[in-house]
Amino acid sequence: MSKTYFDETHCAIGHPKSTFMQWMLTIDHKRIGIMYAAVMFTFFFVAVATAFLMRLELFAPGQQYIDGNTFNQAFTLHGVIMIFLFIVPGIPAIFGNIVMPLMIGAKDVSFPRLNWFTFWLYILGCIIAVSSLWVGNGFADTGWTFYAPYSINTNTNVIFTLVAAFILGMASILTGLNFLVTIHRLRAPGMTFFKMPLFVWGIYATAWIQLLATPVVGITLVLAIMEKYFGIGIFDPAKGGDPVLFEHLFWIYSHPAVYLMILPAFGIMSEIIPVFSRREIFGYRTIALSSASIAGIGYLVWGHHLYTSGMADIAKTVFSFLTFFVAIPTGIKFYDWIATMYKGKIVLATPMLWALGTIITFAIGGLTGVTIAMIGVDIHLQDTYYTVAHFHYAMLGGVVFLLFAGMHYWFPLVTGRMYNESHAKVAFYLNFIGFNLLWFPMFIAGYLGMPRRYFDYLPEFQIYHQASFVGAVIFITGLIYMFYVLIQGWRKGPKVGVNPWRATTLEWHLPSSPPPLENHSKVPYVDFDPYEYHHGEPVVKFDENMRRID
């Protein structure tokens, strides 16, 4: 038995004997990815529980379980965890770390110690964010957007959350930097940009956003802190500041951040679709370049969050126009994926089910986004449940669903074992049905005028809240079931060897399963396309020394 990355590791400092300390100090990208996953999914369930508490309160009008202030803190906690602790770092930190270096034939990321430091910076941010739950007036009640002057005036612990978001932003910048250098410098010889797997393209586009957009929110958060504690008068209207300026600065980062979340998810989709269609991907270059163009145009559309903020009409018009141009490359990707299925041999394994389910949910999320890109319509729908449903379809039904798809897809790579397929499929269907029942009624409620962030509501909206509640119960059951199936698979699943999906990309050509500490035995030479299939079988084959034998 050869040693895997679970048996040995490199450490940032020294070589501690205890397994625990080896994990704490590990600089191996695969181990760091797993630790990110463990922490993130823990927080994910905290945020899901918080969301369920809110759904429970909203089951009927009036106050039942929690009061207005607690509710306000609950949705802030939910938003802060889901955005800053889970989705923004999510796919890059987990699969960017675990898979991306394997895909380009690297032994690790360019700066493994920085990677280790970044992980602990992330943990520090998490601790600061949640510690305010037990301090003073409790968790911030501002919403995850921290709008001034509310965040300036509130006496809850908004400082903790702002500092935490700043630190998490630092971690995000460092991750982006690390990945950018890795992708530029550590690709296997012969692997040009257009020979990279599309997941690497997604990570690459995201890394640029992390690097260039995150500083803006960092500065904004520092300004908000200075406004709150030193009264510098930049956002506070009582001191002559402009609260709308905060909204602009905040969304200059936070809108590109949406693409930062979705681009690596699209990358996962682009990996799964060809493998389970047993053929080459349709329109490789278009998909790769559309990621880049979404990242580019994504910087120029933040104003569509401010259609009702008193912005000039000409600015609204320009922002609306540009917003439609994000939809176009996204749409092209979808057609390319569907075309990849044409004349393929479609295997509806669990990762493919998640991917195809996401095509449906993300299409709804994307098209309802087009609705609220229309200025006149958005004036009605802004800050209603329509918007809430839209971004949950896009973020949860897009990013997180694809994260789950990737989890099922790369599960045998990470663990060397396989989960129970039929149980995993049941979990998918539970999630898919629960998800749609949970969020779809909110489109209708929002259209009828149910504003978001309401802890109590007019009785005519009750039916929609009740339908959502039923959906939430099914969805959460599905989530727990899914994780149970995966954990059981890791503990007891059958061992499946290095390439159970018969995929083509380099992460499936490792010498052992799970992979050894330094990945590929030799650096391969890459003079082939990432998804070369012939009659449903991978064209490129390697021997144990990574020499081609096809």
Partner: protein, 402 residues
């Protein structure tokens, strides 16, 4: 309050139809785009399913220029249509009518109420309408006993007339948004800035106003109403000095007593005998209803009998309930926090918190700022309590002392 939207087609302002049209154009284009993705996906998943396809039949199709141009250009054209409709509907919404042909009302949003100020009328009177909503009443288990009411905080406007809202918030307040779902309009109300929106209501009726920008504790109760009146009724009210129009549009409280003229004969502030007895006398709802219906002359008052039938229907019910309830009037919104310890009437709860009757504004202000160490327990400080809330609470307590 079930007057928000009657189904998807309720349109109560001129531009609502434009917004609707834009929405439905978008809806159908979205359906087409959605089906153009999902139908082939499901079809391929069925047609090329692994158990139907032999490996030799797989074809690696990687490009089709005509198709790729088509699925780039056609959706682009569709999206441009949507941009156009979004743009035109915005223009209708955002092109302000001339002020000379409109009623300009100043709107102030503050935590957590709306206030309206009209221009001076012919006699120089300025209508200022404002106050807090009334929360829904709940039993101990939190079950709704009575829906909340929006009190008399309503914006009165004539039908088929341009109304421009000049909106702002106090500088030390936060951002709110004035949202009228039935009109399809919304605009943020920003402290230290004036934002504008306009409408022209086409249907007589009452419409909900909701705060749509998160503003804290009682964000979900920051309601108001827009009451659209027939022109004549509006003009009669506007040129008078009354707070609320005569008609069927005001509810509960002092306003009803005023409007039906009860207070011409009955005192409500003090126990004194005017033409009739003070309504502060303890009366049951049934008694009041009976008198309203049948009149009253048993006691042989100096000024003669009260005639029956002055008020009828729902208004009579409301008045009877109001009088029987001791005319507590509208509790200030912020008092709900006080009432959990000091009782609904502020007269204290034994062993819990003291009687507040007699606390005036300066004293309240001091306690809110510093908190208070009492013999029973500690009253926490609420340093953020605004001045106007404090004076509203003081007024409410004074009313209850009688």
């Amino acid at each position: 309050m079930s007057n928000s939207l009657q189904g998807f087609d309720a349109r109560a302002a001129t531009f609502a139809a434009d917004v609707e049209q834009a929405f439905w154009v978008n809806f159908w284009i979205s359906i087409i785009l959605f089906l153009s993705v999902v139908v082939p996906m499901i079809y391929f998943a069925w047609k090329y399913n692994a158990n139907k396809v032999k490996n030799e039949d797989i074809e690696n199709v990687t490009h089709n220029t005509a198709l790729e141009i088509a699925w780039t250009l056609i959706p682009t054209a569709m999206l441009m249509v949507l941009f156009y409709f979004g743009y035109t509907s915005m223009q209708v919404l955002r092109t302000m009518p001339a002020e000379s042909e409109s009623i300009v009302v100043k709107v102030e949003g503050s935590k957590w109420k709306w206030r309206y100020e009209y221009p001076a009328n012919a006699s120089g009177h300025v209508h200022k309408i404002g106050g807090a909503f009334e929360k829904p009443k709940l039993d101990e288990k939190g079950k709704v006993l009575e829906k909340g009411s929006m009190g008399i905080t309503a914006l009165y406007v004539p039908v088929n007339t341009n109304v421009i809202l000049e909106m702002t918030a106090p500088k030390n307040d936060v951002i709110h948004a004035f949202y009228v779902p039935a009109f399809r309009m919304k605009e943020d109300v920003v402290p230290g800035r004036t934002t504008k929106q306009w409408f022209n209501a086409t249907e007589i009726g009452e419409y909900d106003v909701e705060c749509a920008e998160y503003c804290g504790t009682d964000h979900s109760y920051m309601y108001s109403r827009i009451v659209v009146l027939p022109k004549a009724e509006y003009d009669a009210w506007f040129n008078s000095t009354e707070d609320t129009p005569k008609g069927n549009y005001t509810k509960t409280g002092d306003a009803l007593l005023l409007r039906h003229g009860c207070t011409q004969c009955h005192a409500i502030e003090t126990g004194e005998m005017k033409i009739g007895p003070s309504l502060k006398t303890r009366l049951s709802k049934e008694q009041v209803l009976d008198v309203i219906k049948n009149g009253q002359n048993k006691l042989g008052y100096d000024m003669g009998a009260m005639p029956g039938g002055l008020v009828a229907g729902a208004d009579a019910e409301e008045i009877a309930a109001y009088v029987a309830g001791g005319m507590k009037g509208q509790q200030p919104a912020s008092f709900s926090a006080c009432s959990s310890c000091h009782g609904e009437d502020g007269k204290g709860m034994g062993g819990m918190a003291p009687d507040l009757i007699g606390y005036d504004a300066p004293l309240l202000s001091h306690v809110f700022k510093n908190g208070k160490e009492g013999m029973i327990g500690r009253m926490p400080a609420y340093p953020d309590m605004p001045e106007d809330e404090i004076s509203a609470i003081a007024e409410y307590l004074e009313k209850n002392s009688k």
